[in-house]
Structures are given as structure tokens and as C-alpha cells.
């Protein structure tokens, strides 16, 4: 009689243990797989958003536009380009450049990573031409900010002493990881981008290659920037 009880009891016990094992390992595996799948799907959604953002950026951010931004805030000391811009702005006007001085400031770049170069100049001309010149300088690349301006007026001529600050900063060395998020450009940034794109860019400085045969009597001026 006891054997009639013992067998189903043993089977029940074994089934109970098996139920626990299946429940534990099965549920653990299912939960893990589900978690991995959800995690991957979430990553895929972010990657799809990133791809969309990059594709849009590829259409709107042309290499030329990126070049204009790099020109507005270059990665190297922009003194030569700034002098070129000043020269271009003065060309065609009756303003007389009486003196110009370039000196680097904060060569270490400070906390912001932005390096500065100071440009002091003395110019003489009519008030309206000088105003046009100074306003024009605000719309040129590389960016330089007026830090101080003094005008003295005598006999309809104005002698202006202006101090400008030019800027440069290293390019970013790292981009986000492949799965990292790439922020899209905000409306405010797009407006700023359009504003900068309208700045007058410095003329390209093209020096003749060493291989080029130069006419010794008709050499290009190295200062014709």
C-alpha cells in the first residue's frame, strides 16, 4: 500500500522541483532576452534619429558652409586674414591707414579655449566713411570685435584709434561615439549660421608654387592679399 503512495509522492516532488527549475531558468532567460531586445530596439531608435539628423545635416551643412564657419573662427592665428580684411575694407575708400599693430593675447586660450589676437590701428577719414568702415568690419570673417574706439574730429576729418580683438580656437578633436547622440541644429543656430554665411570672407591667399617658373621682372606681390 505504501508503495502506491510513495511513487506518486516522488513524482509530485520531482515535478515540483522541475517546475521550480523551469520557472526560474525559463523566466530568467525570457526576461534577459526581452531586456536585451528592448535595449537594442531603443538603441536602434536613437541610431535612426541620429542617421536622420546626420542626413539632414549633410544636405544643409555643405562643406562650403562649414568652411565659412571655420573662416569666421579659424583654428590658427588669423592675423594675416584680419589684415587682409582690413585692407579690403579700406580699398576704394579715402580712409588713410596711419598705423597698425598686431599683438597676441592670451596665447594659452583661457578657459573658453578661445585664443585672442589684438589689433590696434589708427585711421583717418571722413566721419561717414569711418562709420561705414567700422560697421563693415563687424560683418567680415574672421570675426573681430571692437574693444575700444576713440575719435578726434578736426576740420571735417576724423582721426580714429580703434582696438580690435581677433579670435581663433582649436577644432574639436573628438566626435561622439557611434551610438552617441548627435544633436540637430536649433533654429537659433540656423539663423546664426545664415548670419555668418553673409559675412565677407577673406580673399584666398595663393602663393605661387615653388615649381612655377616666375618671371623675375613681373613677380606677384607677396602683400597683395
Amino acid at each position: 500500500m505504501l508503495s502506491k503512495i510513495a511513487l506518486p509522492a516522488l513524482i509530485s516532488l520531482a515535478a515540483f522541483v522541475a517546475l521550480g527549475a523551469v520557472a526560474f531558468f525559463g523566466v530568467t532567460k525570457v526576461v534577459r532576452l526581452r531586456g536585451e531586445t528592448l535595449d537594442l530596439r531603443q538603441k536602434n531608435v536613437l541610431l535612426e534619429q541620429k542617421i536622420g539628423s546626420l542626413q539632414r545635416a549633410g544636405q544643409s551643412l555643405t562643406p562650403e558652409l562649414a568652411g565659412e564657419l571655420s573662416s569666421a573662427l579659424p583654428s590658427a592665428n588669423p592675423s594675416v586674414s584680419l589684415l587682409s580684411q582690413i585692407r579690403s575694407a579700406l580699398a576704394g575708400s579715402d580712409i588713410v591707414l596711419k598705423g597698425i599693430d598686431v599683438r597676441p593675447e592670451e596665447a594659452g586660450g583661457g578657459d573658453s579655449g578661445i585664443n585672442k589676437v589684438g589689433i590696434s590701428m589708427e585711421v583717418e577719414g571722413s566721419p561717414s566713411e569711418l562709420f561705414d568702415f567700422f560697421v563693415g568690419m563687424e560683418k567680415s570673417s574672421p570675426i573681430m570685435n571692437l574693444s575700444n574706439l576713440e575719435l578726434k574730429v578736426a576740420n571735417q576729418e576724423v582721426l580714429a584709434k580703434a582696438q580690435y580683438v581677433g579670435f581663433w580656437a582649436s577644432f574639436p578633436e573628438k566626435i561622439a561615439s557611434v551610438e552617441g547622440f548627435s544633436e540637430r541644429l536649433t533654429d537659433e543656430e540656423i539663423l546664426l549660421l545664415e548670419e555668418i554665411a553673409a559675412f565677407s570672407a577673406p580673399k584666398e591667399l595663393k602663393l605661387p608654387s615653388p615649381e612655377a617658373k616666375l618671371d623675375p621682372l613681373n613677380r606677384p606681390s607677396p602683400f597683395s592679399l
Partner: protein
């Protein structure tokens, strides 16, 4: 002589043991079926979720490849964001454009009424020296200032000379 019970000890006890054996058999059967159902469900769920995970993984790998192909655009975007954030700060710190706009307005108010003698622009202030020959032109100049967008003008000094007229030193905001 002691009585001997020849009947089974207890038919009731046997019945009870039989009932327990029957219950245990049913329990064993139910548990076995449950184990089989659960195991089958776990295998099916593992198979389905495994496929879904593999599919998501394949999709992930393909998307990562796509992102890598767009690396040039990503670099351009990173450069643009970097430059724009810096340029935004630089342009916000500009004093020139705003100061020139105010000075132009002030010079417009001065037009035909007097002359600019000197000007100094620095961060936070813009000083102008103005010469106006007569008190009538001085009044005209002051009333014309009301038509400009200059929000405040501080008169820092006023010198009157009977020979040359008024010399004003103004601070505009």
C-alpha cells in the same frame, strides 16, 4: 482466552490511504503537465524572443554601419556646433554694432545743428563730444533726440563759450 480479530485492521484506513494515493497521483499528473506546458512555453518564448533579439541586433549592426558611412557629416555637424557655440558668445559680447547704431542716430539728430568733436566707445559706454553754435540749434538737437531710439543720454559736461557756442559731452546707452 483472548479474542482474535480476524478482520482487516481497518478498512477505513485503507480507504484513506487509497484516497491519498489517488490525490498524489492527480497532483503528480497535474504538476507534470504544468512542467511540460511551462517548459514548452519557455522554449517557445526563448525561440521567439531570441529571434527578435537577433533581428534587433542585425538591425543595430546595419544602423551602426550607416552611421559610420555618415562620419563626414557627423564631423561637419560637430564642427558646426562647436564653432556656433563659440561664435554666439563672441557676437553677444560685441559692442560695435549696437554702439554704432546709437551713434548714427545721435549724429542724425546733430545733422545741420552741430558737429561731432570726439567720440570714445568702450565696453558699457559710448561718449561723444558735440559742438553746437547756438542755443536754438541746441534746443532743436535736444528735441530731435526724442525721435531717436536712444533710450538714455547723460549729459556729462556742458560748456558755453560766447565765441564758439555750446560744447557738450554726452554719454549714450
Amino acid at each position: 482466552m483472548e479474542d482474535v480479530n480476524l478482520l482487516p485492521k481497518s478498512s477505513a484506513e485503507r480507504k484513506r490511504l487509497s484516497a491519498v494515493a489517488g490525490l498524489l497521483t492527480k497532483l503528480a499528473t497535474a504538476l507534470s503537465v504544468l512542467v511540460l506546458v511551462l517548459a514548452a512555453s519557455a522554449i517557445a518564448a526563448t525561440f521567439i524572443l531570441g529571434n527578435r533579439r537577433d533581428e534587433a541586433f542585425r538591425q543595430n549592426a546595419a544602423l551602426i554601419e550607416q552611421v559610420k558611412e555618415l562620419e563626414e557629416e557627423e564631423q561637419r555637424l560637430a564642427l558646426t556646433k562647436n564653432r556656433l557655440s563659440m561664435i554666439k558668445d563672441l557676437l553677444a559680447a560685441r559692442l560695435g554694432e549696437q554702439a554704432f547704431a546709437l551713434q548714427r542716430e545721435l549724429l542724425g539728430a546733430l545733422d545741420g545743428r552741430g558737429e561731432l568733436t570726439d567720440l570714445a566707445v568702450s565696453e558699457g559706454s559710448s561718449n561723444l563730444g558735440v559742438a553746437i553754435p547756438t542755443s536754438r540749434l541746441f534746443r532743436d538737437f535736444v528735441s530731435e533726440l526724442e525721435n531717436t531710439s536712444i533710450s538714455a543720454v547723460a549729459l556729462k559736461s556742458l560748456i558755453f563759450d560766447s565765441g564758439t557756442g555750446f560744447k557738450l559731452n554726452l554719454n549714450i546707452f
